[in-house]
Symmetry: none
Subunit: 217 residues, 4 copies
Amino acid sequence: MEQKLADKIKKINEEHLKMTDKQSRIIEVAIEEFSQNGFASTSTSQIAKKAGVAEGTIFKHYKNKKNLLLSIVTPTMTKLVAPFVMDGFDTVFDQEYKTFGDFLRAILKNRFEFMKDNLSILKIFMQEISFHPELQESYKEYIAQPLFKRLEDTITHFQEKGEIKELPVHTVIRFTVSTVMGLLFSRHIVSTDASWDDKSEIEMTVNLIVNGLSPES
Amino acid sequence: MEQKLADKIKKINEEHLKMTDKQSRIIEVAIEEFSQNGFASTSTSQIAKKAGVAEGTIFKHYKNKKNLLLSIVTPTMTKLVAPFVMDGFDTVFDQEYKTFGDFLRAILKNRFEFMKDNLSILKIFMQEISFHPELQESYKEYIAQPLFKRLEDTITHFQEKGEIKELPVHTVIRFTVSTVMGLLFSRHIVSTDASWDDKSEIEMTVNLIVNGLSPES
Amino acid sequence: MEQKLADKIKKINEEHLKMTDKQSRIIEVAIEEFSQNGFASTSTSQIAKKAGVAEGTIFKHYKNKKNLLLSIVTPTMTKLVAPFVMDGFDTVFDQEYKTFGDFLRAILKNRFEFMKDNLSILKIFMQEISFHPELQESYKEYIAQPLFKRLEDTITHFQEKGEIKELPVHTVIRFTVSTVMGLLFSRHIVSTDASWDDKSEIEMTVNLIVNGLSPES
Amino acid sequence: MEQKLADKIKKINEEHLKMTDKQSRIIEVAIEEFSQNGFASTSTSQIAKKAGVAEGTIFKHYKNKKNLLLSIVTPTMTKLVAPFVMDGFDTVFDQEYKTFGDFLRAILKNRFEFMKDNLSILKIFMQEISFHPELQESYKEYIAQPLFKRLEDTITHFQEKGEIKELPVHTVIRFTVSTVMGLLFSRHIVSTDASWDDKSEIEMTVNLIVNGLSPES
DNA sequence: TATGAATGAGAATTCATTCAT
DNA sequence: TATGAATGAATTCTCATTCAT
């Protein structure tokens, strides 16, 4: 698994380098339009016009409209979960953490920036996943399963250490993930608000999760 | 506000009664298709065919495709938050609750069924809200604001009683709402799974929230 | 001919009396809309809505949309030329006139008001005549031919008296009719202008025609 | 003004040269159909079929049906009045004329052919002008105003020379224009008639106008 | 690699007309 | 006499995609 993913990411980066000017403008515009109007409501001609290329050019690079969508979404989603899954590539999550809170803090510190930088793509992904079996497939294989596996291991580990209540693992995961997603979501909505402070919001969120899961209650 | 909402709901019900046979078939099919394929990817001819009516009939009743969408989504969303906002109409949330947990339990008992019954419409709403300013407007006015107000009051109340940690109210709300939404969302995905038990999942979720928010930590 | 026309007009008036309230509202609105947007661009539902009747009602009274058009246009056009054609009904143009100028003045005095009162219908007629064979038929039979005949007689008469130049009759008619139509047309366009004076404009126009046709030049 | 118009006409000609084969077929057929059935009663599918192109092709070149109409009508109307307005482009009307009759004769000689060649477009223009504000605008700016200005100057000139009666200028213009339009209109209707003789009809018409306007009466 | 003319299927919407009440 | 729900054909227009240059 890890090797496969490493190859995938290598390929992604290589393809990104090969991109012509026009190609990257297409991608850039497509991200903007898809996230703003939705995939189905964005026309290829709209993209072509805004990107300053001919209609045909899009189809020279991406044989389909759907193919364009996948070319935008899958690389980013793959990169998003890479650190969770890959040994040796990024060692952040490889080490043992003393507490579950430390683990969460490490994840958030590492992935929060990435998610913020790719919010448009994340939005497209969440909007479209339920309509495209191809997305669902790669979601399951490359994101849900590895992530679930990693979290399951960690949670069980801390349950054995007595730091986390003895609830069904999926309940713990659900609680953790939805709280984190809630944080990201809020952050996205109020992003212009100057009063928002990433660090303290992350800290509070981690505490809420850890408290919620702590056995003594 | 309460009177306005009461009128709104009365009108919704009246209009529902006036519906022709064909009209309700249109609505029924539209809900199914919109939630399955998305609004933009569902054609009116598709709806007409499945509902067994002429395409023109749809437009006799709903002057737009968008109008059809709104006619589906807004009434249900209005009904969803009605108990939070209306005094005297439904007294469930009027009374004082001893603990924040009791309050959450009351809400979930009362609204969880409703949400389960209207999951398709809820899905349509969440998919489409970011693309339709009209939806955003009525969401803000009829859902977000009243709900926020109600939660804010309750949370401040329990913070004063020392039952909830002294965090910013919006952080508490975000944590609570996203945890509850996570519950609903999971429930939706694994709905076919026989092992799922609403009652105990609700109970666990309430405990996670209450623990997370409890001051002693 | 005269008897047929008299019967026609009698019938028109009778039918007008039999009209229900709704029916006359339909006619009224149809005239307004047809002249404003054109026949083809006016929908029956538009008329129904503006007239405050059900869509079906229009078709109870006029089996077709085209039938509605004809019901509006033909009676008025028939009435317009009636005085030219009918002996004994309206004697205005029966008498001998001393000069061609007197003849024109008599016509204009008599018919100018009528045309002003029915400008909308006149406009509809002129817009639609080239697209509807039925209109062309009745135009030829009831308007063009009798009018041409009457003018031909009169012009020949005054040519024999030496008052009108010896030009081809159709040239004289064309010149006369187009000048008169030009007057009506201008009057229609500047109708709001306070400076317009029907009497003097008519007088000037008659003089221009008479001068133009006078032999000494 | 003159420069602006010169640019306009240059642009018109350039755009005409750039036209695809299919594009000119579309225009050709559209002219025919619009003038025959009216703009509103001509469907784009009808045009497409007759022109042997796909319906979409029409909309690639003219984004609207109305845009197609304007693309047909405005260039021709602009060309029609060009000689009146442009100094140095066509000097026909630049010189001083000895008599008003000479002036009219020059105009008719020069423009009658053009009008005959573009009768269909002229008809479309006259049919549609009252329904399309865009047409009215460009009519006022590019046709009515310049033409009126030119005629006003000329007429005042000949009034000062004592050749034209002292009537209000607009009355003189109206009389002149409607008589000329009457000529064109008749010519259009009886165009198949072998007995029609352009030269002599024009001569008679000029005389009628000059006589009508001559002061001695 | 890039263009843009051309396509034809299909989208939303309109329309005149019918018919049961 | 009047209604208005219902129709289905037609209308304008859009779209993803192809292909010759």
